[in-house]
């Protein structure tokens, strides 16, 4: 009897937790405040994360094209003036993942 009560309570808590994570992911599992520029993605974890593999560079560069970093904004608008240092830096990158330098949850 005791065992069943414990198991049922465990399942209820677990299912409620899962529901909370699905409905309010930012409040339930966000590890730190999201940087302002990505705040609009705060409840859309999978726009950056691949399940099981963290935030993969492939997903970052879908929006942040390496060739455009420092020159063009994600919206497509030209940077005036262009940040040539940043552009040069990012284009010289070999074998470095975005998350090696950029942390989005602080």
């Amino acid at each position: 009897m005791v065992k069943h009560t414990a198991l049922i309570s465990f399942l209820i808590a677990f299912v409620l937790g899962v529901a909370g994570i699905i409905v309010f992911p930012y409040y339930t599992i966000n590890p730190g405040v999201m940087i302002e520029d990505h705040m609009h993605l705060k409840n859309d974890c999978l726009s950056c994360h691949t399940l099981g593999f963290g935030a993969q560079t492939e997903k970052c560069v879908e929006c942040h094209r390496v060739s455009g970093i420092g020159i063009r904004r994600v919206s497509g608008e030209e940077r005036e003036p262009a940040n040539t240092k940043s552009s040069f830096l990012h284009q010289s990158i070999i074998n470095i993942q975005c998350y090696d330098c950029h942390t989005e949850h602080n």
Binding site: V2, L11, F24, G32
Partner: protein, 191 residues
């Protein structure tokens, strides 16, 4: 009598517990902002492992397993669960960003407090009652007067006796939220 017990036993217990939580939070903050941040993750893993090992006692008590002496397993349970909880507290600190792991920590703190109540406070309350009873008997008070005198403290002891009603359900809640925390970390974190 009740007031004395509250001030000399219950209050120091609460203060020591609060100071311990505060110290863990400060140490966590220090480790987080220094080069030791990476170790915090492993403290969580180590703490969880210790707590899981401590559950051998719970399995033995419910006769799921038959090896080991229940009494020594209880001592191991107390030691490992206490150490593991401290490691997890250090791992978690006082960060309030995510609700799921936060609820797990709150549940854990209540579980530990209830366990300590069962182990120490209840024992001390019973001893105080015993001592006081002898004292009152020496004063030649009638049985009825003694009971009257000890009524409030007995009431506290009776309430404390229910510590298991908190300890076990909250352990279940702790387990559910800790498991969710582990699953979400495995899903969203990169290793």
């Amino acid at each position: 009598m009740t007031a004395r017990f509250t001030f000399t036993k219950i209050l120091p217990f609460i203060i020591i517990y609060a100071v311990l939580i505060g110290a863990a939070a400060i140490l966590h903050y220090y480790m987080h902002s220094s080069g030791l941040k990476w170790t915090l993750r492993y403290l969580g893993i180590a703490g969880t492992a210790l707590i899981l090992i401590s559950f051998f006692y719970s399995l033995r008590k419910r006769k799921v397993i038959n090896f080991g002496k229940a009494k020594s397993l209880l001592q191991i349970h107390e030691l490992l669960a206490w150490t593991g909880s401290l490691l997890i507290l250090l791992h978690a600190g006082f960060e309030f960003d995510a609700v799921i792991p936060r609820m797990a920590v709150f549940a854990m703190l209540i579980v530990v407090a209830s366990g300590l109540t069962g182990k120490y406070l209840l024992k001390q309350a019973r001893e105080s009652i015993k001592e006081k009873r002898l004292e009152l008997k020496a004063k030649n008070l009638s049985e009825e007067e003694i009971e009257k005198e000890l009524f409030a403290l007995s009431l506290i002891a009776d309430k404390m006796q229910l510590w298991r009603n908190v300890h076990i359900p909250l352990t279940v809640i702790f387990a559910a939220f800790a498991l969710l925390h582990i699953i979400t970390i495995l899903l969203f974190w990169r290793w």
